[in-house]
Amino acid sequence: MKIVPIFEPHLYAFCHDSVNDEFYKLINNWLDPEWLENFFYNNKSVLVFENIKLEVAIAKTIKLADKLYDKIEFYQKSLDTQFRNLDNKSLSMKPLEKQKIKSGWLRLYALRIEANVYIITGGAIKQSLEMKDHPHTKEELIKLEKCKNYLNCQGIHDIDSFFELNF
């Protein structure tokens, strides 16, 4: 496992397979009409929920992906204003909190190392309120835990190291 800088010193991304980092893989998929067609064809709940056609969903996702990158680049020094707690109901921030950033139905998941410093662990196209309910976002929860454990094993612990975040 590697940690690749994206917008150093504020944003990084895990690289699970030693080929491409998670942020690049996500954006690449979200810009790919073929990948998106396959995704939405097999996950029609998004189309039903948003009441849109497949072609519109694909076009919208591509635009969202471009805008998401622009937004993160713009806010790279103040990511705390953009990321929020993974648990929508919780206002209190815990150290090494699982965070997510929203852009329409795109989701980025990250670990917060300290103020305005995040490591992206993965992402998904949001389909349900609770991450644990959907297989794709469930996988992301597992990745978050795996990354957190990796950092703990490397001596990066949440206690005394990370601040609570609330957004």
């Binding site: 690749v4 690049y24 790919d32 073929e34 067609e37 490397q154």
Partner: protein
């Protein structure tokens, strides 16, 4: 973050460079045509799905490699007009269209020699009737020798259509030629 933890964190950071920035910088520089390339890719994907056609079959119909088709549907190819037309023919669907210029104001049909040996109004009327009988045109011309005829759509007619450039050209094509040169201006 205290120094010890900061040092630990920094030792974990790879020296690898994410390819993301280069990709997104390229996308920004080419944003205008990328939007159309993506729209074409989406249309191609939905059409081959509807026709139960494989990418390989599409490649064969277009006489290109499957790799080329795969590039097209990734939505980041700067497609040539030739490729777009090949796609349209293979898929049997229009992918892009050029709006026809339409005249809503009168245009003037001009001849380089005065209309003297034939009645231009009658001829234009017959051509009009021949070509587009549902359209209604008003014709104005001097009864004396003239080299100009004003032709305009009849806006009072419920079947009013703006005059398209294709119609105008068809009209000119059917006028008697000889050595006469015709032109039009809006």
């Amino acid at each position: 973050m205290n120094n010890e933890k900061l040092n630990k964190f920094q030792t974990l950071i790879s020296k690898d460079v994410s390819p993301l920035h280069q990709k997104m910088a390229w996308r920004r520089a080419n944003a205008t045509w990328l939007a159309k390339s993506a729209a074409i890719a989406i249309k191609v994907l939905s059409t081959i799905k509807a026709k139960k056609m494989s990418q390989l079959q599409l490649a064969e119909l277009m006489n290109v490699t499957p790799q080329q088709v795969n590039k097209i549907i990734k939505g980041e190819e700067n497609l040539s007009l030739e490729t777009i037309v090949k796609l349209e023919l293979a898929l049997g669907t229009q992918l892009i269209a050029i709006p026809e210029y339409q005249f809503t104001n009168p245009f003037v049909l001009q001849s380089d020699t005065p209309f003297q040996t034939w009645n231009p109004i009658q001829h234009v009327i017959s051509v009009r009737n021949q070509l587009i009988h549902e359209r209604n045109l008003s014709l104005q011309a001097s009864k004396t020798l003239t080299s100009q005829i004003s032709i305009m759509p009849n806006v009072n007619n419920e079947l009013f259509y703006p005059l398209g450039s294709e119609f105008i050209q068809s009209l000119i094509n059917q006028l008697p030629k000889g050595n006469t040169q015709y032109s039009m201006c809006a």
